[in-house]
């Protein structure tokens, strides 16, 4: 989806934050949110890709309010989607924890996705050989799905060169929607900065890991 998460190349975010070496969690609630996000994946019967997509679906203003805030809202999205908790329950519980009176809403009905898993992790073995080889010129397809994808806007419809064939992996575009693992080869594709940003940009190269269905041979 063309959401707020897809920030590569966007302008207007200003100066980078300083390279300070703070603790992993600036406040105690952040550590709890971190753990809860990971535990919510299992509780919701979901997967890492669905969790990433659940974070992407956090509305832009809330997404930008902070990393663990969006992480936590993503976790709640997953839990709501699976009927593990409802938004009304969270609101009511928050009110009670704040010392207010709030009726406990009825528990929702469970509707966990239950997609079969090919094993732990995301790396998979494929019998078929990879479609592209190192050194080959490839072009990214003009894909613009409304669901989850790992093809960012800034590399769509661009021509680059395969610099490495990575292990096949569960296809995020399918798994995030519980449509199956559909494993695919992944290619590190290198683009020139000029191909991405036109003449007048800084000279550099950019490599990004792209799943086979995102690519076609460059003609």
């Amino acid at each position: 989806m063309d959401g707020i998460h897809d920030v590569g190349g966007m302008q207007g975010f200003g100066h980078t934050k300083p390279l300070t070496a703070g603790p992993p969690f600036a406040e105690p609630w952040e550590g709890k949110a971190f753990a809860l996000g990971l535990l919510a994946i299992r509780a919701a019967g979901a997967n890492l890709h669905a969790f990433r997509h659940a974070i992407e679906r956090v509305p832009p203003a809330e997404y930008l309010s902070g990393y663990y805030a969006r992480w936590l809202m993503g976790a709640q999205n997953l839990l709501q989607d699976s009927g593990v908790v409802s938004g009304e329950e969270v609101t009511a519980r928050a009110a009670r924890l704040s010392g207010q009176h709030a009726a406990e809403p009825a528990q929702p009905e469970l509707r966990k996705p239950g997609m079969p898993s090919g094993g732990p992790g995301n790396l998979r073995n494929l019998d078929a050989p990879p479609a592209f080889a190192v050194g080959e010129a490839v072009r990214t397809r003009n894909l613009d799905p409304s669901g989850h994808t790992r093809l960012p806007r800034y590399v769509r419809r661009r021509t680059g060169t395969v610099i490495a064939v990575q292990p096949a992996q569960v296809f995020p575009d399918s798994a995030a929607h519980f449509l199956g693992e559909d494993p695919q080869y992944v290619y590190s594709v290198e683009f020139t900065s000029r191909e991405l940003w036109g003449a007048g940009c800084e000279p550099f190269s950019l490599s990004i890991d792209l799943f086979e269905p995102y690519l076609e041979p460059a003609t």
């Binding site: 998460h5 920030v7 590569g8 190349g9 966007m10 302008q11 975010f13 200003g14 100066h15 980078t16 300083p18 390279l19 300070t20 070496a21 992993p24 969690f25 600036a26 406040e27 609630w29 550590g31 709890k32 971190f34 753990a35 809860l36 535990l39 509780a43 990433r52 974070i55 809330e62 930008l64 809202m73 709640q76 839990l79 709501q80 989607d81 593990v84 409802s86 938004g87 329950e89 969270v90 609101t91 519980r93 928050a94 924890l97 995301n122 790396l123 093809l151 960012p152 800034y154 992944v186 590190s188 290198e190 991405l196 940003w197 940009c201 800084e202 550099f204 950019l206 990004i208 890991d209």
Partner: protein, 196 residues
């Protein structure tokens, strides 16, 4: 579509969710504490620093690390979530690598721990794929014009770690002393390692 969420302070939202999930037997508060402790104490850039120091002092290890990062890193006992397939990028006097995840904040947890605030911030994620030299300069890293800059956007389950250049004047240091010089920022590629 997901039902809209009420606006809540995140510190309160986390308590509300934790309370509901604990009550339903779906999470155990001890597990939550254990996750927090692991990433506060055991998993962090000190792991990656050991990998770098080993690569600087053991040429054969360096070759293995660049050929198969995951296996060479596992030799030192580092593996786990977000480290299924780690590729190590070697910085040299002529090539400088820098790593980002524009779509979320993918990061090699087993060697670097959880990502720092600046790495997750939209300013870094948006700009380093468009004006990396300017971003690096903003962080205080000035690269000569003849240094090639290579940006890596971590968009799959492959995770990247930079092997920084060993600073001059450190020939007399032990592996442990070298590890103490290596910073998280250098292993992401936004800083160089300095001699003591």
């Amino acid at each position: 579509m997901t039902a809209a969420q009420e606006h809540l302070d995140p510190a309160l939202r986390v308590e509300a969710l934790a309370s509901l999930l604990t009550e339903r037997g779906l999470i155990d508060p001890a597990t939550v504490e254990n996750f927090i402790k692991t990433y506060e104490q055991s998993v962090g850039p000190m792991n990656g620093a050991k990998v770098v120091a080993r690569a600087w002092t053991d040429p054969q290890y360096r070759v293995r690390l660049l050929a198969d990062g995951t296996a060479a890193i596992a030799e030192l006992g580092f593996k786990g979530p977000q480290g299924e397939h780690i590729v190590v990028l070697e910085n040299t006097p002529s090539v400088h690598h820098v790593v980002v995840c524009t779509l979320c904040s993918c990061y090699p947890w087993p060697v670097l721990g959880l990502p720092p605030s600046w790495y997750k911030d939209p300013a870094y994620r948006s700009r380093v794929v468009r004006e990396p030299r300017m971003v690096l300069a903003e962080f205080g890293l000035m690269l000569a014009d003849d240094v090639q800059v290579k940006v890596f956007d971590s968009s799959s389950e492959v995770r990247y770690m930079v092997l920084p250049e060993r600073p001059d004047g450190t020939g007399h240091l032990s592996e442990d002393e070298l590890a103490a010089l290596v910073t998280r920022d250098a292993m992401v590629g936004v800083a160089a390692v300095s001699a003591p």
